[in-house]
Amino acid sequence: MRRRGRKPDWLYGSAGVTIPFPLPPSSGIGLKPQHYTQALESPPAEDSTHRDGEEFRPGWVEVHPQNYFCQGGPPHRWLAGICEHYPVSFHSVGLSLGSAAGLDEAELLQLAALCERYEPASVSDHLSWSGTANNRYPDLLPLPYTRECLDHFAAQVGRTQDFLKRQILIENPSRYLAFTGDEMDEAQFLHALCEKAGCGLLFDINNIEVSATNLGLDPFAMVAAIDAELVGEVHLAGHAVEEHEYGPLLIDDHGSSVTDLTWQLFERFIARAGAKPSLIEWDTDIPDYAILTGEASKASRIMREASLVHEA
């Protein structure tokens, strides 16, 4: 496997766990089976930099580990090949860390086996719940921002990190609901979670746009509230828009280009945070590889320009 030896510069806390091979601070893509061949034909340049005029090559890729929860066959042949050439992030959608009944043990066992097999650079899941092991809901259901939920969620993240023997990242949710019993806002909840569990954040900026629009919040204030030091990865994606009599409802379907507002929010965040591993997520209506890498190239350019400003 390709290994990156640099120590993570955002590692903090006292959980006693580390990420041995962090993602490079460049742009990556969510890898789908339709793009395996092209990804293998144009692996990242050794120095992970992109020069004008060159075909853009993602610096790393992300997969959903649940798609590889099988013993063998073509999915593993592809993944093994990809891991030879790219730093890989496992973005789990199935641990159900926020379930009051506790996380999904079967999913954790399978995730651990996959991590053992491929040694991914990063592992992440969501601030959400998905039912129980006997009653599964394939969605990322929202959680209330209460102290009870924080304690419970932090304990589940701690169990996961102990079992995987590594730090994980937790992604902020896209929200369609807010709870009357919330005792803190999202950023406060996420920061307290990182403090209690020793995890990092996967900061999904499209989710900020979705949540802010659906719940009537200020997306720029939400981005500004996030502690950049805790962010180990950024997600960028598109969403669907439904028009209703009460206004637009944004659906986080990852089926289109990153919106102008999400790019603006990303620029604002990167100007403050510096370059971060930043992913283009596209899970439905998968486009041509060139479109995906075009989006990744744009993220790369924004980070490069922000770095120049920082250096100046």
Binding site: F69, N135, R136, P138, G181
Partner: protein, 250 residues
């Protein structure tokens, strides 16, 4: 509201509809709750239906999109479906179809076939035993070689063949359908009764001599033919060899 009570109420609303929404828990009251929970209910339903479509493309072609959607919606409302992760949601679809009074047996057998195909596709990798490895082996070596079923090998009922005849030659008179994956691709082959017997025998690794049968010459010939067909299809692996075979893979 405590976390477990809140989650129970959300599940109730998602499963049973808007009459069960605990609207005091959500900002925006009943309207806000319905708007948000309906997005989640749609996402959940869509994810389950898409997973079934991706697992059973041939069944969908056979029975048509409308019937398939109706069948899928009935199935995903059942406990046996919602207890499975998405990648295993189709595990009991064929059984569910058989329990229906107007069961289309060919369609149910095709669901069995497609589930078996998926299991074969995802099975552990192993090097299939080939006929070439016996090229220089004497009879005693061959008969004492212990073989096991390749992890990707599956046998499914022949009743699905009507839906597969155009794609797979030789299925018209088969006793069952054999699925194998000696390399990357899943192969579909006709299986004789003798092959089905041998696969049953191979619940545990066996020496070849046990597979061939020794009652009379006709059975012996059938057994030999079946074993050769299984080797050609890549259905077997070497468990232990009693002597050197070509390409020593013990």
């Amino acid at each position: 509201m405590k976390l477990d009570a809140l989650q129970r109420s959300m599940i109730e609303a998602i499963d049973k509809g808007p009459d069960h929404v605990a609207d005091t828990a959500f900002v925006g009251g009943r309207k806000g709750a319905l708007r948000g929970l309906s997005v989640h209910a749609n996402t959940i339903s869509h994810a389950r239906l898409v997973a079934l479509e991706e697992t059973f493309p041939k069944l969908r072609d056979l029975i048509g999109e409308e019937r398939f959607n109706q069948l899928s919606r009935e199935y995903v409302g059942r406990n046996e479906a919602i207890g499975e992760p998405l990648n295993a949601i189709g595990r009991r679809l064929a059984q569910f179809m058989r329990e229906k009074p107007d069961c289309d047996k060919t369609a149910a057998a095709l669901a069995d076939f497609e589930w078996a195909w998926l299991k074969s596709y995802h099975a552990a990798d192993a090097e299939a035993l080939t006929l070439a490895q016996f090229a220089d082996a004497d009879e005693e070596t061959l008969l004492n070689t212990i073989v096991a079923l390749h992890p990707a090998s599956r046998i499914t009922p022949a009743s699905a063949r009507a839906a597969l005849l155009d794609e797979v030659p030789g299925l018209a008179d088969c006793a069952a359908i054999l699925l194998t994956r000696p390399q990357a691709d899943v192969l579909v082959s006709p299986a004789s009764e003798a092959m089905v017997r041998q696969i049953d025998e191979l619940a545990e690794p066996q020496p070849f001599c046990n597979l061939l049968g020794n009652v009379d010459e006709q059975l012996l010939a059938e057994g030999l033919q079946a074993s050769m067909a299984m080797l050609e299809a890549g259905a077997l692996v070497l468990f232990r060899q009693e002597s050197n075979l070509a390409g020593n893979r013990g």
